[in-house]
Amino acid sequence: MLETELVFAAAAVVVFSMGLYGLIAYAHLVRKIMALNITGSAVFLFLGAMARRSDAGVTDPVPQAMVITGIVVAVAATAFALALAKRIHARTGQTRLPEERGPR
């Protein structure tokens, strides 16, 4: 029982680290937004894993509710971020922030 939750929690940590790496390493704004979403998904997976280890015989509904709330907020934030990225592209022709350096 506990082992299953540990596997999910460990997977969540690995996915979070991958998302964090992507967020730093890629300059492309869409890639950054995708990386941010990957870290968010990892958090949701972690919450789901933690929700399973409840004594009451049911999956803990509080983390489940947090995930449902979090998904909607993540979608809204992603839509706003994508609109900002499109605006930057329309204005500058660039798909990254002006300060971002590195080879193309």
Binding site: V13, S17, M18, V73, R101
Partner: protein, 244 residues
């Protein structure tokens, strides 16, 4: 758009090798720390939030524990979440300087007739499933978020098939629907406070009806907001931008 300066949008600009290595090290180290914390957390005895929820479930007005948390025990979270949705939409509308709906009215592309016919059929089914999910939320997994996402999907399908009629609604009506969930939760919470109950606490015996009404409002708002976020990011919007 300035064609001379546009590189391939699919180019993969990355950091140099050394910063990349640093980023990987940082992410790896943070991951290792998080892993220790996660193992520690998974081994610790749970806080028994589920026990608290199940003990008071009968008082909540619904029999699905997740809906009880979302619409009763922690309804402030849901209220702020609807606020976040509206806030994101306001941000996007501000980016398009209020012309987001104008761009939605440009429907020039030819749409395959099969897609248009099928979309008409599927949209009916999706609306039916959304209504079912909303009703289901009081006693089984389902509820406002699931139903709202389904309705938004139907609206996006209608748009892709050239059958979108949402933008023909007057803009004040659309805006009203978008803030309906947020506003109604605030009014319900305030009304409870005025009648001597805690803010966001339902009066005894009224919880079921109040939750269903608020869920209906939240469903419509979530669907309208997600549709609005999709519409505003439409390619026609960018063409407007280019003429700035």
């Amino acid at each position: 758009m300035q064609p001379g300066r546009v590189v391939s949008p699919w180019a993969r600009p990355m950091l140099g090798a050394v910063p990349r290595l640093l980023a990987a090290t940082l992410a790896g180290m943070l991951g290792a720390v998080l892993l220790v914390v996660a193992v520690d957390l998974a081994g610790a005895p749970p806080r028994d939030l589920a026990g608290h929820v199940m003990a008071r479930l009968d008082d909540s007005g619904v029999s699905n524990p997740v809906t009880a948390v979302l619409l009763n025990f922690r309804v402030a979270d849901t209220w702020l979440e609807l606020g976040a949705l509206v806030l994101a939409l306001i941000g996007v509308v501000a980016l398009y300087q209020g012309r987001w709906l104008a761009s939605a009215q440009v429907l020039t592309a030819a749409h395959p007739r099969l897609l248009a016919r099928l979309a008409g059929l599927f949209i009916c089914l999706i609306v039916l499933v959304a209504a079912y999910l909303l009703w289901l939320g009081t006693h089984e997994p389902g509820g406002a978020f699931q139903a709202g996402a389904m309705l938004a999907g139907a609206a996006v399908l209608a748009r892709l098939a050239g059958r979108d009629r949402m933008h023909r609604l007057p803009e004040p009506v659309l805006r009203l629907v978008m803030v309906l969930g947020f506003a109604m939760l605030l009014v319900a919470g305030g009304a409870s406070a005025m009648r001597g109950y805690a803010f966001f606490a339902y009066a005894p015996g009224e919880a079921t009806a109040a939750i269903f009404a608020l869920e209906l409002a939240a469903t419509l708002s979530i669907a309208a907001c997600l549709w609005g976020l999709y519409i505003a990011g439409d390619e026609h919007g960018t063409q407007h931008d280019a003429r700035d």
